[in-house]
Symmetry: C2
Subunit: 514 residues, 2 copies
């Protein structure tokens, strides 16, 4: 079994999903879970793109130990310098440099000749290697590039010191046969190819990112890039959990394995979905709600006779046992703390106290507190940024009826600490509520998208709401959970506004690049 390295870009390419906007604390929680999951390399962001990205990459680089942390950079000295500042504290500083090699990108986007692209790449790889022991170079839009130009530039950047060569299918254009052939061609024609790791990076625009990634592996790639739940630009990246499970389940056919702890798959997927608001569909492979559900009578009959008739892997293999009950109202703080440790969550004393308080509140209202509920509570605490002054919900009420006018009344504490109150009507309860919040908040607000979901089933399930607002022209997302849909909606709206304020606070200092 050859070991394939898993390069996770959930926090960089994944975070480029429209409407996703993670803060530092959220990124760190995802990074810690990725480390627990066992990913080999973790792309934490694009340090030169903004102050916020820089800080998140630095925090993750300084914290994560068992996974190599990398950051993206354009082929510019200042990008490399900023990335070095962010990454130098990591266990094995690693840079990810990219420059496009396809005719259309070179001509229209870069306005550079192939020679300029080649020379810039070589020069910047050399420059980067003065700082970084590991430098990955990506040929952006490689699958629409001239193969012989790729051979030439790859040979030269390897001579310049690149340690990993990545061949991205940036637009999700390739097919398994074509992508496999490209890897084979490069291995046959790049004379010094054995000095580096070859990497795949696939997008799912035609629904084939996973198969393309595996085709690359069959043709010599030793690293696979992708994201959890396949999130990313447009249709997203190759879904890492699908790649890893396919290699595992078909180990009779594919002679490759990863070092991922597959039993952490479901938890990793849930965390990413929760924090990004990018929910997976019920029929998503491996981690969808239905992925292990058998519906038809014929299938159920087969499952009763022998599970292997319709099951090629067990739900337990990927940590799918979220129905397991957790604890009830009589559970003590000690048992509670032990359970969190089982999850691999580290809380300080204050956080633990707050989590236990919220757990107790929930047990008063909900008979069965599940692992999912608990995870939601803890994540809210771990990703809270209450240090910055912002809007706080004091109280609110909503009246809705088919025969009266929906009305909301809200009392808020605003960032200057003053209590403000208003009441508004709307066509529905959430509209009335959002009109009232809008009236009380000083920024210019425009609601782009609103979602609400329940965590688990049952009438008393937690509701989780995600909103996307445009605040003073800038898109910001927010999430909130509560046992009530209206309250969860209020929390999500305020969360977006507060995230905007926090962001403004940080950003005002320095904007690194546009």
């Amino acid at each position: 079994m050859s070991k394939i390295k898993i390069f996770d870009t959930t926090l960089r390419d994944g975070e480029q999903s429209p409407g996703v906007n993670l803060n530092k604390a959220e990124k760190l929680e995802i990074a810690k879970q990725l480390e627990r999951y066992g990913v080999d390399i973790l792309e934490a962001g694009f340090p030169a793109s903004s102050k916020g990205d820089f800080e998140a990459v630095k925090l993750i680089a300084d914290t994560i130990q068992d996974t190599s942390v990398t950051g993206l950079a354009r082929t510019r000295k200042e990008d490399i310098d900023i990335a070095w500042d962010a990454l130098k504290g990591s266990a094995e500083p690693r840079l990810h440099l990219f420059l496009a090699t396809s005719p259309i990108h070179m001509e229209y986007k870069l306005k550079m000749t192939p020679e300029e692209v080649l020379n810039t790449s070589v020069e910047m790889v050399k420059y980067a290697r003065q700082k970084f022991p590991q430098v990955e170079w990506s040929a952006e839009d490689a699958t629409r590039s001239d193969w012989d130009f790729l051979v030439q530039i790859i040979e030269d950047v390897i001579n310049a010191g690149a340690t990993v060569i990545n061949i991205p299918d940036t637009t999700g254009y390739t097919t398994p046969g074509e992508y496999g052939s490209l890897f084979q061609y490069l291995r046959d024609h790049v004379s010094n190819i054995d000095k580096v790791s070859l990497s795949s990076h696939c997008h799912d625009d035609l629904g084939m990112a996973v198969a393309n990634s595996i085709a690359a592996v069959e043709n010599g790639a030793t690293q696979v890039e992708g994201s959890i739940n396949g999130i990313g630009e447009r249709a997203g990246n190759a879904s890492l959990e699908e790649v890893a499970v396919a290699l595992k389940v078909r180990s009779d056919y594919y002679k490759y394995s990863t070092r991922l702890k597959l039993e952490e798959t479901k938890r990793t997927s849930d965390l990413v979905a929760k924090l990004t608001g990018m929910y997976v569909q019920a029929n998503k492979a491996i981690v969808g709600r239905n992925a292990f559900a058998h519906e038809s009578g014929i299938h159920q009959d087969g499952m009763l006779k022998n599970k292997q008739t319709y099951e090629i892997m067990t739900p337990e293999m990927v940590g799918m046992n979220s129905d397991s009950l957790f604890m009830g109202k009589h559970s003590g703080r000690h048992a509670f703390g032990d359970k969190l440790k089982e999850f691999g969550m580290e809380l300080n004393q204050d956080e633990l106290k707050e989590a236990f308080k919220q757990f107790k509140l929930l047990t008063d209202r909900k008979k069965e507190v599940t692992d999912d509920d608990l995870y939601t509570i803890v994540m809210e605490i771990k990703t809270d940024t209450s240090a910055i002054s912002k809007y706080e919900l004091e109280s609110f009420q909503v009246q809705y009826g088919t025969t009266n006018i929906p009305t909301a009344t809200v009392a808020l504490k605003n960032p200057s600490g003053k209590q403000v109150e208003a009441a508004c009507t709307g066509q529905g309860s959430v509209e009335a509520l959002y009109e009232t919040l809008d009236e009380l908040i000083e920024e210019d607000l425009h609601l782009i998208d609103y979602q609400i979901n329940s965590v688990g089933g049952g009438k008393d399930a937690l509701a989780e709401s995600h909103v996307q607002l445009k605040i003073n022209g800038e898109p910001v997302n927010g999430r909130g959970s509560a046992q009530d849909v209206i309250e969860a909606s209020a929390n999500a709206f305020l969360n977006a506004v507060n995230r905007y304020l926090i962001n403004q606070n940080t950003k005002s200092k320095k904007e690194v690049v546009k």
Copy 2:
């Protein structure tokens, strides 16, 4: 360009998705849209499985003209006879017979020897061909079957009169290389293979259903089976829209085309999502909300310079322009009717009157009525089954506040026409509402799952709710839409209860098979 036939099983394998339970009217609307989309063959159900399925298949077979309609049957005379009764009125009656050929299925599920499986298949294909001009035979779990046994049984069922041979990857186990080789092997070893169409049928458990389907096509399959949005058992079937678009976009590489009208893709996807409650994730290829969205600064910059830098297909190609505004409060009935015709929707006079009324009501409350809104309204009308006496919501009100106890008051007309009222509290507004409905409804109810989504963005967007209930032990789903989240939730709950009552009404007559 070889033409590849598209065999859609959204209404059979797709409808086997856990929690999905379409009624006759809903199935017919989906079938009509599939006909407009241009699918070659449409599997409408499994007629022998229940009276409801039988009736839906018959209605679709009698209605649809441009698409060949088929139905599933086990290798049993009674299944074939029932299927014939359902399908004989169709333009080209077509049967889909299946029997498992893998060792594990034969030994544990069927408890039959390979010889028995072979003889039964041959006998039942012969029997079916006495009625049906077209008979497809499927080797269930083909990808885990002995290849030489497949060669033998396929040769024999072709001699018995099968016109299509389907090679299902029932458990979603295969890989592109392996599946392609299997098709090649069958073409090389089954002496009479040229007499039939070869078909692929892939499941997405390892995320490779689309690539596997195309690998089959590259190795001689001339028919691809799958579903819209890839719904189906577990992780679902191959997503037909992804297969078709991949062949189209990469027509330089793949020399195959389909006769799908790709510009109907988005509408087909939306309809299936709406009626099944199986929403697609934002990063779903082709039809996801983000599939054509570009987020990072670098990508946006490229798009401004030349769209082809990051776009391999246009959103218009697949009918993605749902943001287009529709009409406002001054639009007349005539313009309204014309717009519906543009959609390809046929409404009778009563339905048109009702749709226009609801449209006018909506324009009073909502500034911009979109195509999506209109589609939601029309679909509610087309799939209504108001003939059967059931629960009707007379009025309700809900009060929610952070400082008081959530309370709902509901007045219902019950199936016997009597008005009943109750008020209950709950931990949240939906819980209070559902407690009250539960109290007023006589059946034994248990809520399994609750979802709510907004149709489009904005504070005044329509809300669409899906619930899954267990009613007297039987799973039933329901959906409802309204401009308010609470009202949509009430509608969905009652819809599930009413669907159960309607179903009981029909089913009490005859249960065909368990």
